[in-house]
Symmetry: D2
Subunit: 240 residues, 4 copies
């Protein structure tokens, strides 16, 4: 399985705190953290040519992980269309945290993907609401993060095909924080935690969820659907 971890990779250069938490970038921390047998992992980022997401790279990617925040607007529309096409063809997509506002996620969802937020070091408790789901494999009843940015409902997304996690925050809010979708032949998993100023992507349980997500989002190799004008399989009778 070939995984590409994409990161905006800007906060790391502008904010000392972020750099100290993620000296190899958020992409580096995730790539290292989810490494295991059977995963071939590379990274890509915004300031590379074509954002590091050339046709060749995408053709060679089974699952793409996406982290972005301050520069969603700088992602070129033609690259977004290219990623979108690959998802519909079967590439898995894991969208993390502030990626909820990325062009690719909004294009796949068809809604604003807006939400409430607060940077105030809320405690987050991510409850498993579907213990039968492979993305929850190996977890306990919840994941506790001592401090995170708060995201609160209403989260303007389509009702998820499967709701795996719901978050509790100290400040009084809840959030649907683990949501799966199918789009075309591809699978999409949105996972909430991961604000850049907290060491969330060093948390073993968070990394396990991302790893589980990658396994779950792997492409299915069925027949490529054929669309358009179709001959009848049974006699229809004379055309009017």
């Amino acid at each position: 399985m070939r995984v590409t971890v994409w990161n905006e990779n800007r906060h790391e250069f502008k904010n000392e705190k972020v750099r100290s938490i993620y000296p190899n970038g958020i992409h580096g921390a995730i790539a290292e953290g989810i490494a295991e047998n059977g995963l071939e992992i590379r990274t890509a980022w915004l300031d590379q040519p074509e954002h590091g997401l050339t046709e060749a790279v995408l053709a060679d990617t089974d699952v793409l992980i996406w982290w972005g925040h301050m520069a969603h607007g700088e992602v070129q529309d033609d690259i977004v269309d290219r990623v979108h096409k690959r998802v519909l063809e079967g590439m898995g997509l894991i969208v993390l945290h502030s990626g909820h506002f990325s062009k690719i996620f909004k294009k796949l969802m068809g809604t604003t993907c807006d939400l409430k937020w607060r940077e105030a070091a809320d405690k987050e408790r991510i409850w498993v609401v579907d213990p039968s789901h492979p993305i929850a494999e190996g977890l306990g009843a919840y994941i506790e993060l001592p401090a995170e940015e708060m995201y609160g409902e209403h989260f303007d997304i389509p009702a998820p095909d499967e709701l795996v996690f719901v978050s509790w925050f100290t400040g009084g809010e809840v959030f649907r924080s683990g949501c799966t979708y199918r789009r075309g032949q591809g699978k999409v998993f949105y996972f909430r935690p991961g604000h850049e100023t907290y060491p969330t992507y060093h948390n073993e349980e968070v990394l396990r969820v991302i790893r589980n997500g990658v396994r779950w989002a792997a492409p299915v190799h069925g027949a490529k659907p054929v669309y358009g004008n179709a001959k009848p399989l049974e006699p229809v009778g004379p055309k009017e």
Copy 2:
């Protein structure tokens, strides 16, 4: 309830057969056919200024019905964005037949919305698979249309929130032909039948489904969600 029936209104001018079936246009037939107490119905079409969908008209519309086919590309993107915004704010949307390929439906779905099709006068039998759904109110086990264009799976849409109808065609195909979605505060209903060369929108049961759909898609008057930076409702502790 204020309903706007939108029609591309082009086939009616180019094709004698279509004109003879729908002398007042497809929009006219639908507007007349669904009329009942409590519905205030107007029509709009592509070649009007702003496609007849001005800010004022949309602000005054509870449910919009959409039929388009040969001129999807001529619908201006800014009008599509305007309709999209209104759906997310709560306006209901009924998308009919070849509207599956309209810009507004594709934007709301996030997929290609592609499908198989055939013009060969297949018989269509639209089976009710959810008899508990208000959109199926007053129907029998199925609606039979003696001749229609065939649409066949795979239909490249997100899994519907609710699947109300599945079609059978003589030529050997099936199709998810009644699908509901929620997007933002709005409700969307896709209903398959209605090729322009058949008198489908004169069929009493088809009209009943559209009428039921309008009732179902009516806006809900809850609080408008507030997004963005949110003060805590409970003490969070000092910000880091």
Copy 3:
């Protein structure tokens, strides 16, 4: 619309506090609280003959509201089967709070319906996660209850067809507290709040949700499905 409010009606006789909050019983408070034009409301309770749920009463009920807690085991199986049959035929069912463990809810769900709970006067904040749903009509972003029994995940139910509310509790838990299901031709709505020692069913917003739920769960008058051996609608060819 004919509504029957069913209550176990036992705590009211054993506990002074409950009696003082609900002098006319929980059923009385709900019946009074949801009253409005177009609703014809009656009550029934456990210690009546046939638990007040005779064939005649059920045949005359469009939506049944169910509150039970300490005496689930005393509800006779044949009455449960009778209610079950009526739901599948189209009667709406609103299951409240500790009704999660009622025989009828478990029979409709097929799971244990177990959960975490605590009586410690947690504050509950019931967040609307689907503002497009008619059950959320007229609400703000959330309902706040200053003190309630806590119910926490994991809640062992099938994934709801629609998730309308998610609760936050002071003690650190979340709960899927507004869940809809379709079973046969009937609609089922589970709504969490309502422990007997709190005045929850005097809360205007809670009552509004129940009233909205009744409207939503109203029977749909489609054709009664016919099952069993079916003649072909099209020529099949000679039987092998």
Copy 4:
């Protein structure tokens, strides 16, 4: 992965035709047909002690496959309860064809599971409506069976969590023929084809679907949910 194939195993003894198609029983054909590396397969049937489903066998089963038809009523309720408990604990369950009326399936669904049927050698075409689903791995656009018993809508089941297949029949009907559900920690897959008088379980594509289903239904090893009275995770304040 440990698989148990359960069969009623009665038609094979009463009907020469069935015996000639399945000389080792339907269970034998399935066990042989799905065999592959990594699957440890055993069989069990109705007339064994405890129907071959002892506590030990079930404890040693990851996925149970179920075929039954003429003797649903002879399956003991306590064995059904035992299987039910194991599904909720995480054992996968694949229910085939006439198993729609088995006690275990009805108990998990909460509905009658009734349907239309006809034995007239209809052709069946099983269309893939979710090409992203692992159960459809390796298939083309549809599976064609030259002759099968017809099952038609309305099928009285809860709306499936995922709809993978829809069948077309010569005689004019459609059927939701591949449906997934989650119940407790277990996964359930209903797959339609397999009437005893046709060689359906010798069809390579049908066997592939069952094999895919087994892989999909494998238990997830998350924490076992804990229910009941729960201590607060955060300070709640003094109990009233």
